[in-house]
Structure formats: C-alpha cells, structure tokens
C-alpha cells in the first residue's frame, strides 16, 4: 500500500471518525465478537477511540503497512494495552483479534461511499486496508502469547528455587530432600546449594533423599555422582536415601555404578548411620 493510499484512508477516517467509531462499537458489542467475557462498556469505548485515533495518525505519516517501523509505535502500544486488558477481563486472543478485524466493515462502507464510481481503486484500497488490519489483529495475538510465556518462565524459576532446600537435621548432618525431576539445570542449582551449605555449616555428612524423584535414569545418576564427588573433594561425605524398590531395580538393570556410595531405603536409616559416624547416639530417657 502506498503512502498516498494510506493518507487517503487516514483522511477518510478523520472525516467520519465518530460514525466509524460507533459502527465499530456496535459490531464489537453485537455478540459475534466477544463470547463470554465482554470488556466493560467504558473501557471498550476508550480503547477503541484511542486505537482508531492512533491508527489514523500513523496512517497519515507512514510510508507502508510494515507495522514494525517507528511511525506505528503508538498503534503497537495501544494494541498491546488492549490485548493485555482484554486478557485480564478473560477474553481469548481470538476474541481480541476479531474485535480488531471488525473495524474493517465500518471503514469499507465509508470507502464504498467515497470511491463507488471507481471500482478498481476501491478494490485496491479495500484490499490494502484489510491486509493492514490483519497485521494489527495478529499483533494482539502475539502480545497475548508473549505475556503467557513470561508467566510460565517466572513460575518455572520460582518452582526451581522452592524445591531445593538444604536442611540441618542435627549438628553436622545435613539433609537434601529432592522433589521432582532432576535435569542438568536443576542439578547445578542443587549442587551449588548443597556445597555452599556444607562450607557454611562445616557439616561432614549430607543425606540426599530421592523419595520425591520419580525416575532415576543414567543421567540423573550421573548428576548425583557428580554432586557427591564434589562434596567429597571438599571433605564431606554423602549418603543417598529414599531408594524405592522400583528405583533399585532400574539402577541395577541400567548397570549404573554408584561406586562406594552408601545408600539406604529410608531417611531414618541414613540418619542412624550419620549419627554413628559422627560419634552420636540416641538414647531412651527412662525417667520420662
């Protein structure tokens, strides 16, 4: 679309702004655009007016319908704001995009009135404006998607931080209950946490409990072995506990070599061993 054509449509919108706006509002509220959650009347009107205005101004200045150029920045901002507030009100990305598309008809009506005698030019203008609005509608869908991805990334980060605590069971005995799948990234975090805690507390024994780890394959075993090697280099030792019967079978079938790492099926057993190694014992108090 040439910049001349854009300017023509821009002045058309300028001339019939109020009518186009109310036609557009009517289609948006007509029931064919928003299904369940309709944005509030006042909000919708404000958003549509701002969008229409910024669209008109951009089209007066822009050289083409490439909406990534700086002339379209205000339009992009308005689209992004509309997409986000609609998403908050519960509208789906399809509904938001359809609302943008529904601006086509009011403008087409006005174009037909102006250029009715020149069918060739009319069809060109209709096609170009349609292409432009398609881009704008798709842009709102993209913004929606990006903000979802941000939420997911943030939640992933939080989950990772939540699930690798190192607790001190007793003086000199640390416990690391692992929950969930163990991938390379998490292992890195887990390893650093554990080793730092060993350095901070000077605890010579750490019990790594894998009751909450659903599957143990060669990769997971490798990660565990790396962690234990690093701890031993520092001068501490590790016991693996929480080995379920299924896991034990899997490890043997896979031929994973755990070397001389001590393993126990329950945290209680591992704790008993740790106490013995540090020269402690739990005794019954008969006078209680």
């Amino acid at each position: 679309m040439s910049s001349l054509q854009l300017k023509q449509i821009s002045s058309l919108i300028e001339k019939h702004e109020e009518e186009i706006l109310s036609d557009w509002m009517r289609s948006q509220r007509g029931g064919s655009v928003f299904g369940g959650a309709m944005p509030k009347e006042g909000d919708l009107k404000e958003q549509s007016r701002a969008l229409l205005r910024s669209l008109k101004e951009a089209m007066a200045k822009a050289a083409s319908i490439d909406i990534t150029t700086p002339e379209w920045e205000t339009v992009r901002e308005n689209l992004a704001a509309t997409s986000r507030s609609n998403a908050r009100d519960g509208a789906s990305p399809t509904e938001t995009a359809t609302a943008i598309f529904s601006l086509k008809q009011p403008v087409f009506i006005k174009l037909a009135a102006e250029l009715g005698s020149n069918p060739k030019e009319l069809s060109e203008q209709i096609w170009s404006f349609s292409a432009l609005l398609d881009k704008l509608g798709l842009y709102t869908a993209e913004v929606y998607q990006k903000s979802r991805e941000q939420v997911i990334a943030r939640q992933q980060q939080e989950m990772m931080e939540l699930s690798t605590p190192v607790v001190e069971l007793w003086r000199g005995i640390l416990a690391l209950p692992l929950i969930g799948t163990l991938d390379s990234q998490r292992t890195q975090v887990v390893m650093e946490n554990l080793l730092q805690k060993i350095a901070d507390t000077g605890a010579p024994i750490a019990i790594i409990d894998i009751t909450g780890v659903p599957t143990v394959d060669t990769l997971v075993a490798q990660h565990l072995i790396k962690t234990i090697s690093a701890a031993r280099l520092m001068g501490a030792d590790c016991i693996i506990s929480g080995i379920r019967p299924q896991i034990a079978q899997t490890i043997v079938h896979l031929g994973v070599a755990l070397g001389d790492v001590l393993t126990k099926s329950t945290l209680a057993d591992a704790f008993a061993i740790a106490l013995k190694r540090t020269g402690l014992a739990i005794a019954t108090n008969h006078s209680a």
Binding site: A199, G202, P204, K226, A231, R232, L233, M234, G235, D260
Partner: protein, 128 residues
C-alpha cells in the same frame, strides 16, 4: 619474593596457600616442605586452600606431587578448605585427584591425621 608459610602444629605441618602459584613457587614449596618434614619428623601435612578461588590442572598436579612426596617421607597429607566452586569445577573438568584425602577445615584435617587426639573425624574417602 613471596614464600609460602609452613607452620608446625604438634607433629603436623600446616601449609597455607594464599597466592597464585607458579612454577618457581611450587618447586620452592616442595623443597621447603620436604626439608621441614624430615627436620621436624612430621607425621602429617595439611594443605590449606580456602583462599584459592580457582584451581587449574597445574595446581591439581602440584597437590598430587606434594602428597606423593610427603607420603614417601612418612607423612600423611590432607587437603583442607576447598571452596564449593572449586570442587564443582574439578568434578566438571574431570581432573583426577585420586588418592588425595580431603577435609572441611584444619580441625577435622588434624583429627584425620591423629585419630587418637579425639575430635569428630569422619572416615575420609577419596573422590569417586
């Protein structure tokens, strides 16, 4: 020129490495240490590396050499105070530190060398 300090604690020697090692320093340390072990009839050597933030294969080799030399002279060697980041790097790089015993700090290191002097010694196992 810097010299790496060697201190005597009971029947053990404590070596604290606080500066970057290079060839000449490493050789000098080996000389000094072997002399002192024989002179003081030391039965244990503690190498304290908590000030080292980076360890490369050179230092790894040097630690291995010192351990072997001390053992030949009749002294037990323990490396103490390794930083977590250093431990992780060594494991990731797969640098062989087989046969080197380690402890969390000087206290535990001493307990490992002199088990009869009491203290909470944990059976020091080598890296996997």
């Amino acid at each position: 020129m810097e010299k790496i300090p060697i201190m005597k604690i009971d029947t053990s020697l404590l070596v604290t490495i606080q500066v970057d090692m290079n060839d000449s320093l490493a050789l000098e340390l080996q000389d000094d240490l072997s002399d002192r072990i024989v002179k003081t009839k030391a039965t244990g050597v503690l190498i304290e590396i908590s000030a080292l933030e980076i360890i490369d294969s050179f230092i790894g080799r040097m630690l291995g050499n010192i351990t072997a030399i001390s053992r030949l002279l009749g002294a037990d060697t323990v490396v103490v105070g390794m930083r977590p980041a250093v431990a992780i790097t060594l494991v990731e790089l797969g640098l062989p530190l087989a046969g080197i015993r380690t402890a969390l700090n000087v206290e535990r290191g001493l307990a490992m060398i002199n088990p009869s002097s009491g203290g909470e010694g944990v059976d020091g196992r080598g890296p996997l």
